[in-house]
């Protein structure tokens, strides 16, 4: 699987409802370290209603300024959910189907 299979994919819950679009992949640095660095491990999908401006980094990693841009991007992404990758049932045709319905 490639990261691009997840990014931009639609996310549907078990009951068929649309949760949104994958706009980020939250990682921890605790994968196996066969080389110099521990491999990143994707833990959760960041799911929002829209795609626009998601790569700018205003939802993660403490990107702050300029204030006005942040306010705008955050207004576009008011409903953001983190979905544990463990709850992914299957991925097909650019759609991620979850095994449950997160609240």
């Amino acid at each position: 699987m490639r990261a691009s299979d997840l990014l931009g994919a639609e996310v549907h819950t078990a009951d068929g409802g649309r949760l949104g679009v994958v706009t980020g992949l939250r990682c921890t640095s605790d994968g196996p370290s066969t080389g110099g660095l521990p491999a990143p491990r994707v833990r959760a999908l960041q799911v929002t209603g829209r795609h626009v401006g998601a790569a700018l980094g205003y939802q993660q990693d403490g990107q702050r300024g300029p204030w006005l841009v942040r306010a705008l991007v955050q207004a576009l992404h008011r409903r953001t959910a983190l979905v544990d990758v463990g709850s992914i049932d299957r991925i097909e045709d650019g759609t991620v189907h979850l095994s449950g319905t997160p609240d």
Partner: protein, 130 residues
């Protein structure tokens, strides 16, 4: 939502410049290979580069053409994108640093082709600028 030991893969790894130990530029992280791990999550096993990795991320027809063209140009029946195992990575900063050079990895066919067929035929291509 933000906590210190997590980071975003798209923001900190995808589309980053890949360089060798001396800072020579190799490629971009056009995509990332993920494998489900036994102990949970998807682990990054390799960086993917080249048109076969970038193409699918480009919109519609342009993306398909890129992939089709790259397939025609590649040899072998089932061409895959250039793959750099994650073991090669020594640092994740403003660039992704590897422990090998481009030539050791042998991943830039277009560069090699352009070099031997065009650039090397122009006088002065092997000299530093003055």
């Amino acid at each position: 939502m933000t906590d210190d030991d997590t980071f975003d893969l798209r923001l900190r790894l995808l589309d980053r410049q890949v360089v060798d130990p001396d800072g020579a530029m190799i490629c971009k992280v056009d995509d990332v290979e993920l494998v489900p791990a036994d102990d949970g999550g998807y682990v990054v096993t390799a960086l993917l580069a080249g048109p076969l990795a970038l193409g699918p991320r480009l919109p519609g027809r342009l993306g398909r053409w890129t992939v089709a063209l790259a397939r025609r140009w590649a040899d072998g029946p089932d061409p895959a994108p250039r793959r750099i195992p994650f073991e090669r990575v020594t640092e994740l900063g403003s660039a992704v640093v590897l422990d090998r050079t481009r030539d050791q990895l042998g991943i830039a066919r277009l560069e090699d082709w352009v070099r031997t067929h065009v650039i090397d035929r122009i006088p002065g291509s092997r000299h530093e600028s003055e």
